[in-house]
Homo-oligomer: 329 residues x 2
């Protein structure tokens, strides 16, 4: 059997995670990596796999079955997504929830023009969590949704801390409030404010002689990022930050609380929860599974943009329908 | 918009649950109920909906878009499933795991002959739990699966108790062993024996003068059902059984424990868990969501047998792709 040839665009945490995930899926192989850096400066983990400049990507159209876009949602994907969908089947993890409809439309147009399948917004949220919200809503139509994130590192909030004057380095953990999670699990259907759902815990390395009180206040009162939350700020040394906070763990919960019966007298709780040792390694494992789906759909003649909602679970697996029914149903 | 006209075959707990679930899905309506009993003896909850004899079902081919088969897997479905799939789009909850491949083949042949879509083995296990096993395996290919059932009433084990001489009535709860669940959640990847995973707790009403010690021994040593488990037997009165154990709660967990990284150094835990106030009401809510999928697939010209693995999540929802992407992704 021919392996599915996967190309990676962008070799940061997510790109490296994708390279590792490909090794765990024997029906896939890494074909090449595309980078904005000077290709000869980039050392990847896999021996013998070429690294190309992203500006030469059109020349490698025939080397790749599915391209996994590992850039960011703020500036990379809005440009790359539609551009590359015209040339390749693509998978991306576009996660700016509010802009998904317009991003979908742009990618859909390009993918249809090129006759390719592009699955957007793949990962765990959007992604697996979205699927769980959808299943929850469909099997318990009379109910409430709850999504909690963490405990885990938020890149955006860590960046925000580091922009505060006098801050040398810092990391921020998003932490679900235990009491809120327990109230939801109990079936109490609480109405929860932003503050009641998540805590924010910051580990901050200050520059020498900086005014710690001012830094703490500035963080805690930062609009959008921290002002609506209970925020804890710890000042620690760079050594401590590097030693204790260099991982990229994450996690979270999607809970659907629903009622059935003649008079809503029966309660049900459905919960999906994840505890991830590494956010990018888990996300990229999902990207590779959806690359398989894109490849298979494309072989069937399908084209256009898709999301995880449009992909039947069986398409993610290398096993046949017979095998799946016999072993996993 | 025309509503999806659903017919129910068999009016036990699952049939009644389906009738209630239809009320929660405004794009569906109950068209009719088919029974083996004398139709005039059957009083259903919904005013004005006809009850027909199952022997007349062929006459009502045009009254129904999707038929939900609410019979049992032991004797009803193996006959009804293939027979009715030739005449109707069908949904069933066939749950004899070992016989799924042959059941699928029989239904597939009939559904293709009739040009219908039949989704088999819908519910929570097989069903939602199967989907979670599949997603878990695909997104974490290097890992281990764990499925726990309960706490909940097992119909088969309750029946087995009631067949013991001197037993007047009884109910059996399957209970996951807390320590085993915690060990799995911790990422310890334990090897668990049958006995280590589940407890069985029995509430037994004995006939007057029966030898309780013999009954207890006979239950605890019953092969297949109890001998491989730690089993607790309580003798209680019929009043206590009726008062405290008349519900049909259930639940369970599917946990995928997986490794990623260059040397499997990163651990992830993905867990799906459900706590159900009523097993048949939850199961039937799932059946109705999949009836919507069968209806839509059939309108697209698809035919043949399907399982939950073959159905893209979006097909379960009455919302459009645009709506789903904007609200749930």
């Amino acid at each position: 059997m021919n392996k599915i040839r996967i190309g990676i665009v962008g070799y940061g945490n997510l790109g490296r995670g994708t390279e590792l995930a490909i090794r765990q899926n024997p029906d896939t192989e890494l074909s090449c990596v595309f980078t904005r850096r000077n290709p000869s400066d980039l050392k990847i983990l896999t021996e013998g796999v070429p690294v190309y400049s992203i500006s030469d990507i059109a020349e490698h159209k025939n080397d790749v079955d599915v391209l996994i876009l590992c850039g960011g949602s703020a500036t990379d994907l809005p440009v790359q997504g539609p551009q590359l969908a015209e040339m390749f089947c693509t998978i991306d993890s576009f996660d700016t929830h509010a802009k998904i409809p317009q991003y979908f439309a742009a990618v859909d147009e390009a993918a249809k023009k090129g006759g390719n399948v592009s699955i957007i917004s793949v990962g765990w949220d959007p992604g697996m969590f979205s699927i769980m919200r959808l299943y929850g809503n469909c099997v318990l139509p009379d109910g409430k949704d709850y999504t909690f994130w963490g405990k885990g590192i938020s890149q955006g909030h860590s960046d925000a801390i580091r922009r505060v004057e006098g801050v040398k380095d810092g990391k921020q953990y998003t932490i679900p409030v235990e009491a809120a999670v327990e109230a939801v699990r109990s079936g109490a259907d609480p109405e929860l404010t932003t503050r009641q759902k998540h805590l924010r815990e910051c580990f901050v390395v200050a520059e020498e002689g900086a005014d710690l009180e001012r830094i703490e206040n500035e963080i805690k009162n930062m609009p959008n990022y921290f002002a609506d939350y209970d925020t804890i700020v710890h000042f620690i040394s760079q050594e401590e930050l590097d030693r204790d906070h260099s991982g990229i763990p994450h996690g979270g919960f999607v809970i659907r609380s629903g009622k059935t019966g003649e008079n809503r007298e029966t309660s049900h709780i459905v919960e999906y929860n994840i505890k991830l040792g590494s956010n990018p390694e888990f996300t990229s494992s999902i990207l590779v599974a959806y690359a398989r789906a894109a490849y298979r759909l494309s072989k069937e003649g399908v084209c256009g943009a898709k999301t995880v909602f449009d992909i039947a679970p069986a398409y993610l697996s290398a096993k046949s329908g017979d095998e799946l029914r016999a072993s996993m149903l």
